[in-house]
Amino acid sequence: MMVDIISGWLIVFFTLAIMSFLYKDNPIYKLAEHIYVGVSAGYLFVLAVVQTIKPNFWDCVAPLFTAAPGGQWIRVGAGVFGVMFLLRLHKKTSWVSNFPLAVMIGTFAALRMTGLANSDLVGQLHGTINSLNYRGLPLFEWDKPALINNLLIVGGVICVLSYFFFSLEHRGVLNVAGKTGIYFLMITFGSSYGYTVMARTAVLIGRVADLYTYNTSHYAYATIICAIIIITLIHISNVIKKRAEKT
């Protein structure tokens, strides 16, 4: 139960410490920020070793040293390349890291190229051309496929692509299409903004929920007391800073 209460106090303290940045930058916020960076680096370090290096590399290579079955000599090369990557830290040896980097870049370039072309180009083109299939479609629907909706989508895609086409000067039909494309893009950006507000508000709801949860007698009103402590500490740091500036 003591652990539970300490948990609640830590959650509230760190939440309010970060929120104190809204008033102004202060030592409590900086402390919380640095703890966050340290803990996230530590967490990432543990997971990289425990979930990737150990099962995918060490478990395949270790049997080779004990003459147990299941060892893969080829996997030793991956480990060597991995260590070569670490040599990037020093200026004189950083050229060695180009070898494993080449493997990474080549792999990701190929995967991205084929994956995007297949899904984002062919898939989306397929969807756009399919929209021209008017059989059995009603004239207009608010949220289902309809003739007017599909024609607007096809027209909109062509106009937006026209806006990004710079091989020809934007004159005449291309100019009109490009300008229409801008209007479609503005609606897109406005919609994205609306959803961004929705997403960020949802995160805030989560924090408010925690502040209420831990502001009960079981947690000794952690929220109110932590808020008072943090405000006091910020005030003290302001006074100290002003005195230091005067001297």
Binding site: V3, S7, F14, T15, I18, L22, L31, H34, I35, Y36, G38, V39, A41, G42, Y43, F45, V46, L47, V49, T52, N56, F57, A78, G82, L89, F99, A102, V103, M104, I105, G106, T107, A109, A110, L111, R112, M113, T114, L116, D120, Q124, D143, N149, L152, G156, V157, C159, V160, I187, T188, G190, S191, Y193, G194, Y195, T196, V197, M198, R200, R207
Partner: protein, 212 residues
């Protein structure tokens, strides 16, 4: 040699990974699968590189007593505590994802509130940015503003409580003009990615290697 061999590696790896997509030949698939395993391991070592760099930079700040060096001490202590607790838990119980221990305590009670609140701050800044910057100065910005207001109103229950038309309009805006705009951006960006990918694999684009 220092530069030629990496280009050869990039081309070799790129060709096999591209070939795997198109060809169902067992040799190609076997080589490509092993390349993928190598890549997984190299990426994990890249994470270790990032951690090592973080350590080095912060240690230098502490040793040279640069401004705010005291906070870097806290940072490194937090890192060491998390890492040591994680490996200790793994050594004792063989996994880090279950049970009540120091590692999960740090995750739920330190990492979680800090990270969540960092991102929660953005909700305040987005409201402030909307007030200061969102102006309907011309047709384009008026369109953007209208779409934003319509979506914000229509996608939440209060929009439907005010009028039935708001959720219908908001949904229509998302399904029709927004889809068209997004699709145009996606297709345009994809053409760019394919072009750059080909340039990298063919060795025309070399800026990713140090010293070029």
């Amino acid at each position: 040699m220092k530069r030629k061999i990496p280009f050869f590696i990039t081309t070799f790896v790129g060709v096999f990974m591209t070939a795997k997509f198109f060809l169902k030949i067992s040799l190609v698939e076997a080589v490509a699968n092993e390349i993928e395993q190598w890549c997984l391991i190299i990426v994990a070592f890249a994470i270790l590189l990032g951690i090592a760099n973080l350590f080095r930079l912060n240690l230098l700040t502490i040793v040279r007593r640069k401004p705010d060096w005291q906070y870097k001490v806290i940072l490194l202590l937090a890192f060491l505590l998390t890492a040591i607790s994680g490996f200790t838990v793994f050594a004792i119980q063989g996994d880090i994802s279950s049970g009540k221990n120091v590692f999960t305590f740090i995750f739920y009670n330190v990492y979680f509130p800090l990270g969540a609140t960092m991102y929660g701050l953005l909700s305040f800044f987005i409201a402030s940015a909307a007030f200061r910057a969102f102006r309907a100065k011309n047709i384009e910005s008026a369109l953007m503003l209208s779409a934003a207001i319509l979506v914000m109103l229509g996608r939440v229950p209060i929009g439907m409580a005010i009028s039935n038309i708001f959720p219908k309009l908001a949904n229509w805006v998302m399904i029709v003009p927004n889809s068209a705009g997004q699709r145009g951006i996606i297709m345009g960006a994809t053409i760019g990615v394919v072009a750059v990918g080909l340039k990298i694999i063919l060795g025309i684009e070399r800026s990713y290697l140090r010293g070029e």
